[in-house]
């Protein structure tokens, strides 16, 4: 009403009340500007965070490409191809399980290759380090790599010796089973392929940006602060995150959805007034307190439980490490239950009463109504609740940093369900663990940002799908 032109009264009756104006705006406009400004600030901050993440993280791929180029040009990659052979020899030894004299001869057979590796490795490492500390304009030592690859005949001879040694072991050990012989044969037949790779290796082959990206997203090793070569592969961390999230959801979804269905459909008013606040109270516990509880109590208790004799049939029981994916998964389930419960309960409560009443009118019993009418109608809300619970659990840091065991390796899925008792490391945990030690702008710093970016995109996708599912299947309200 203020601001509109007012009718002109005779002087005695003119209104002289000045309308309060703050910064030139009337009070309503000021309030609107204030709240609108808050919303704008929130959106701007979100945009800035996204831009900042992308800016810091994207520099990683260019740096990784330069790093991989240096890895190749200094001959370190060549030596690693040889080293893979040494590792395979060790793996074979473990698989064969030889004993006594055969075992000693097996271990001795690899010694010439190991000595050659040591020599070439030191040389390649020196070339790489000289390149890293080289001043601009000084000559590079990459020319020496040709001399390393020129050692190929010597490598071939060493492989020949190794083949002969393994052959002698096979012949002079009558106690070998046919499958052990088969494994040895298979190992020996792989030598040809390795030698071909070594022969075809080219130090000057360019590294593409796609390869740099692939080395991150599909790399199976995350190794930093190494004297040899750093690898930034996210697969072990990603599988660790997925494993603890799967365990957490496996526990939280039945508990959370079951509690939601019970509280919203079956419980009486008094039960509801006790259970609902209790579950929502769990959300108030700080996650670092839960992590501490995990180290101090839960890890020990679960391990003692696994040592109980009549539980030994469970996959993965008994186990030795207190800090593993199971401990972290249980605590994360505790964190996820309130989220899933609250949202699922809201979804169930917003099913129109007409559906319930119609079902009763048609003669259905209460449990039939719940199972066949109400839960299916609220299904989209419950799925959305589970997705949001997953988003919460994947982003949780303190609990996994303290309780998941911090083993940076892809969990051994050949143990079947027993994989849950293995220690793992997660994407959130690695950021929290390593962020204190990285200097700004280094490749490690940027690699951690790309891991953060990956988490951000995962959480964004989960939230977006949760919203979409909720919106698409929302029932029209029947009044």
């Amino acid at each position: 009403m203020r601001g509109l032109s007012e009718p002109k009264n005779p002087p005695a009756f003119q209104i002289h009340k000045r309308s309060r104006r703050i910064f030139g705006l009337s009070r309503e406009e000021a309030i609107r500007a204030f709240f609108g400004g808050q919303a704008l600030v929130a959106v701007v901050v979100l945009a800035l965070i996204t831009v900042f993440l992308f800016r810091e993280g994207f520099g990683f791929f260019a740096q990784q490409r330069a790093e991989l180029t240096r890895y190749r040009r200094s001959g370190v990659e060549f030596v690693d191809l040889l080293r893979a052979q040494e590792k395979a020899h060790g793996e074979l030894g473990r698989r064969l399980g030889l004993r006594g004299e055969a075992a000693d001869r097996f271990a001795d057979a690899i010694v010439p290759l190991r000595a050659l590796l040591g020599e070439l490795g030191e040389w390649a490492l020196e070339i790489k380090e000289s390149e890293e500390s080289r001043a601009d304009g000084a000559p590079t030592r990459f020319g020496e790599v040709a001399e390393i690859t020129a050692q190929y005949p010597k490598i071939e001879d060493t492989f020949g010796e190794l083949t002969a040694q393994l052959g002698t072991i096979t012949e002079s050990s009558p106690g070998l089973s046919p499958e052990q012989r088969a494994q040895l044969e298979k190992h020996l037949s792989g030598f040809g392929a390795t030698l071909a790779k070594l022969r075809a290796w080219d130090a000057e082959k360019p590294v593409s940006g796609w390869q740099a990206a692939r080395s991150f997203f599909f790399g199976r090793q995350w190794l930093t602060a190494s004297f040899w070569q750093d690898f930034y592969g996210v697969v072990p961390l990603f599988t660790g995150s997925l494993l603890v999230s799967a365990i957490a959801l496996g526990l939280a979804v039945p508990l959370g959805l079951g509690a939601a269905i019970y509280v919203s459909q079956i419980a009486g008013a008094r039960e509801r007034s006790v259970i609902k606040p209790a579950i929502e109270f769990i959300a108030a516990i700080p996650s670092v307190v839960l992590g501490f509880f995990g180290i101090a109590v839960l890890g020990q208790a679960l391990r003692a439980l696994s040592q109980v004799e009549w539980l030994a049939w469970l996959p993965g029981f008994p186990y030795a490490e207190r800090l593993n994916a199971l401990t972290a998964g249980c605590l994360l389930a505790l964190i996820a239950v309130p989220t899933i419960f609250t949202l699922a309960e809201d979804a169930l409560a917003s099913v129109p009463r007409a559906l319930k009443e119609g079902s009763y009118a048609l003669g259905a019993r209460r449990m039939q109504t719940v199972a066949r009418v109400i839960v299916p109608s609220a299904l989209s809300g419950m799925v959305s609740a589970v997705l949001l619970g997953l988003g919460r659990v994947i982003g949780e840091t303190m609990v996994v940093l303290l309780c998941a065991g911090n083993r940076i390796a892809i969990p051994d899925f050949s143990a079947g369900l027993g994989v849950v008792t293995q220690p793992v490391h997660t994407m959130t945990g690695i950021i929290a663990q390593e962020m204190g030690e990285v200097a700004t702008g280094t490749i490690h710093y940027r690699a951690l940002f790309v891991v953060g970016l990956l988490l951000f995109l995962i959480a964004l996708t989960l939230n977006y799908s949760a919203q979409k599912i909720l919106g698409r299947y929302r029932l029209p309200s029947l009044r």
Binding site: G90, R94, E132, S133, Q221, L223, T224, A225, S226, F227, W228, Q300, R303, A320, E321, R322, L323, G405, N406, R407, I408, A409, P423, H425, Q433, E434, G436, E437, V438, A439, T440, T442
Partner: protein
């Protein structure tokens, strides 16, 4: 606001307080870095120093040697504790930012290999230590008679730790740790996990070996102690450093002088490290 003057006076008081705050903080010494030094030794010495010189305050954050050097380079710490030497990459990074990393040896330390108290093994060769921690040997049976049986659970520090890097250089021939090793944040955590796991093995500084549930393994007959470290008999001995930006000045210099004095070195010995003299 009924009275705009009241608002102005509040703001003025706020500005005045923020001006005083830096002056109050002038006496605070920020020390960041190694968990080996910063978990027990430096807080103890800091307490003694504070008893002698009231009015000083310390902020000690022990998250690993690498964090200390990084903090010194970025200017957020006065002294960086480190249980390893700074790497060439860190020195050049510091030089690029105008920071000269100057090391000062404050004590010596031995890295002790610990196993669970129930494990019958008492001695290991250097080769066996390398094989265990790089993952060449994966089971206690492979260490010969006199050991427990079962898979070996390796507990190490994480990449922020100087002890992690020192151990790699001294014991593992610069090879990488086994992928099955679990990376823990500090010495106390390693002690706790090895004490709880009968298959566990790990390494800690000399000051942490007297905990219940763990026992120290001799390396080719030498147990880690002050005598064997000073006599250079124990193979995994290393100096621990304080890094400063150039020559230490002011409060930092006074504190470092106290650490290197007779009183400070007595505390070093009491906590379990080896004094520089």
């Amino acid at each position: 606001m009924k009275n705009p003057l009241r608002l102005l006076s509040f703001l003025a008081a706020g500005f005045a307080l923020t001006a005083i705050a830096p002056a109050l903080q002038a006496q605070k010494l920020v020390i960041k870095g190694s968990d080996t030094l910063g978990a027990k030794l430096v807080p103890t010495i800091a307490e003694d120093y504070r008893a002698l010189n009231p009015g000083r305050s310390f902020e000690i954050a022990a998250e690993g040697s690498s964090t200390g050097i990084a903090a010194l380079i970025s200017g957020t710490a006065d002294i960086g504790m480190s249980s390893r030497r700074a790497r060439p990459a860190e020195l050049s990074n510091g030089a690029a930012k105008g920071v000269t990393l100057r090391p000062l040896i404050v004590c010596y330390d031995g890295i002790a290999i610990i196993v669970n108290a129930a494990n019958p093994i008492t001695t290991l060769t250097k080769r066996q230590v390398e094989q265990v921690f790089t993952g060449d040997l994966r089971s206690w049976d492979d260490l010969g008679s006199g050991a427990a049986s079962g898979p070996i659970s390796i507990y190490t520090r994480n990449t922020a730790s100087g002890t992690y890097a020192d151990f790699k250089a001294l014991a593992m021939n610069k090879r990488d740790y086994a992928p099955s090793s679990q990376k823990l944040a500090g010495n106390e955590q390693i002690v706790a996990e090895v004490a709880a796991n009968p298959n566990g093995i790990g390494y800690v500084g000399l000051a942490y070996i007297n905990a219940p549930g763990v026992k120290v393994v001799a390396i080719e007959g030498d147990l880690p102690s002050k005598e064997s470290v000073l006599a250079n008999r124990y193979p995994y001995a290393r100096p621990n450093f304080f890094y400063t930006n150039g020559e230490p000045q002011g409060e930092a210099a006074r504190f470092i002088d106290y650490v290197l004095s007779e009183a400070g070195q007595q505390v070093v010995e009491r906590v379990g490290f080896v004094p520089v003299r």
